[in-house]
């Protein structure tokens, strides 16, 4: 018993040491990059904010409704299109469309949930994946038919805001995504731990049958969480439009990257998504900083997710 405890303690210490070494290496690498290519950190963090703000709502749905929504980025795309045409018609700045876009996507999400996903909640996972994948294709193609594959963009001056430090120019607009991601993470935490509706949603996520027994309408709770997640991603659609051109397939890489980040963080771990996003954002920007590696930036998330899954399965096997 004592020997086993010592063994555990030793393992624990080794793990701590390894974590400390990794943290020190990461810090050293960050300082080196900062000195060498200062823009990488700036761009990487902003990119991380964009990824995290889109991935957090997906993590919410996966953590509570236990559905991988493969149409996640496509819903953002739809919100961006709706924002674009509303802004064109009204001569409005997309920033003013953030809340209306959230409301419209939430409503769309509620309807899609009631009509389709709710019916597949007890179905095998593969069926659920096929369903949301089908929704993704349908959304993309409907937009494609209505608005063609032409790109749309709203030119905005404030997007090119930047700060000059020494010889370097640092664009700063995309920190709005970082702020949004932090707002989402903190807001969701407060919602899920402090409000009755939030606690009920967590309860439903942990034990749907137990939740029904205490009078919680489980399907309604799932629907609310799904709609809330889509409201958050809809708001991101309007923000996304300030910065980027949109086209029917613009959302799909974000579906894949959100899924990668949620998987890296682990189910239900919303703060972990922030950390994973910083890792992904910095890695991509680092590769983008050199001409020789630039083309590899888009696949770095594959490398990360494979590494994480391998690492998980190795540590799982060791525990066993």
């Amino acid at each position: 018993m004592a020997a086993k405890q010592n063994g555990n303690k030793g393992k624990h210490m080794a793990l701590k040491r390894r974590t400390a070494i990794l943290a020190a290496l990461a810090a050293a690498a960050t300082v080196l990059i900062l000195l060498w290519k200062p823009t990488v950190i700036n761009n990487g963090l902003q990119q991380a904010g964009l990824y995290a703000a889109i991935a957090i709502p997906m993590g919410l749905v996966l953590g509570i409704v236990h559905i991988v929504n493969l149409a996640h980025g496509e819903f953002m795309m739809v919100a961006a299109y709706a924002t674009y045409f509303a802004c064109k018609a009204l001569g409005m700045d997309p920033l003013f469309a953030v809340l209306p876009a959230a409301a419209v996507t939430a409503l769309l999400g509620w309807v899609v949930f009631r009509l389709t996903i709710q019916r597949a909640l007890k179905a095998p996972e593969l069926n659920q994946l096929i369903l949301t994948f089908g929704i993704a294709i349908a959304l993309t193609q409907v937009v494609n038919i209505l608005f063609t594959s032409q790109t749309y963009k709203i030119p905005l001056e404030y997007v090119s805001a930047s700060i000059d430090i020494g010889e370097n120019t640092f664009p700063v607009w995309s920190y709005v995504f970082v702020a949004t991601a932090i707002l989402y993470a903190v807001g969701l935490r407060l919602f899920l731990t402090r409000t009755t509706a939030g606690k009920a949603a967590v309860a439903v996520g942990q034990n749907p049958r137990g939740a029904a027994i205490v009078g919680i309408d489980v399907n309604r709770s799932y629907g609310l969480v799904f709609a809330l997640a889509l409201a958050l991603v809809g708001a991101m659609g309007a923000l996304f439009l300030t910065k980027s051109a949109i086209f029917p397939q613009v959302g799909s890489p974000y579906t894949m990257k959100s899924f990668c980040l949620v998987a890296m963080a682990g189910i239900g771990n919303i703060p972990g998504i922030l950390g994973a996003s910083v890792l992904l954002g910095l890695s991509e920007q680092l590769l983008r900083a050199f001409r020789e590696t630039r083309a590899w930036a888009d696949i770095v998330f594959f490398v990360l997710i494979i590494a994480v899954i391998l690492g998980r399965s190795v540590s799982w096997r060791r525990k066993k």
């Binding site: 967590v202 309860a203 942990q206 049958r209 137990g210 009078g215 309408d217």
Partner: protein
Amino acid sequence: MILEIENLEAGYGRLRILQGVRLEVGAESVGLFGPNGAGKTTLINTILGINRPWKGSVRFDGREIGGLPTHEIARAGIALVPQERELFPGMSVADNLKLGAAYIPHAASIADRQLEMVLELFPILKERYAQLAGTMSGGQQRMVAIGRALMANPRLLILDEPSLGLQPSIVAEVFDRLAELKKSVSILVTEQNVRESLRAIDRGYVLENGAVAIEDSAEGLRTNPHVVKSYLGI
């Protein structure tokens, strides 16, 4: 009568488990006994809408509740302590208890009073108030489950095997508590532990092969030769 069940049939897939059950609960404490597989849990799950009734009626307070979704039945005033406890393992004891009342219309407004009563009934829950329910022992989790059900201020409390997996001293305690509770709430309880539960009930049913085989007072059951031979093991 608070609960009236007539000619109830239910089952899983094509397998019929309940073969026309008739059962009533008034302002009293009623036991439901029978061997494994007799249909006790199926009957309870059907009352709560976890299983759909195939045939027959389940009336609560004069209103037909057969076929309603579980959360509506819970809101009508039936609280269940399931065999598997069905707690929220990643949430604190406090949150588990509070969620017991939050969505029940006639309980939410008096939740503070109910909470005080539950913590008085199970002092251990006061000590473990902030602990995650999933990290507690089976017996303590059972108390959380009973406490959570009481938070709903139910008119009918249904307990499915409340003594399962508990050490005997705690079983005795649970039945003492039930004997106290039956003054204010109707109780329907299934038990393997017939001897202990006969202390806490007024009347009982013996379910065999999905139908009521015996229905009698606690005293009558205690002296019934079939019950003595099959369930009391004397």
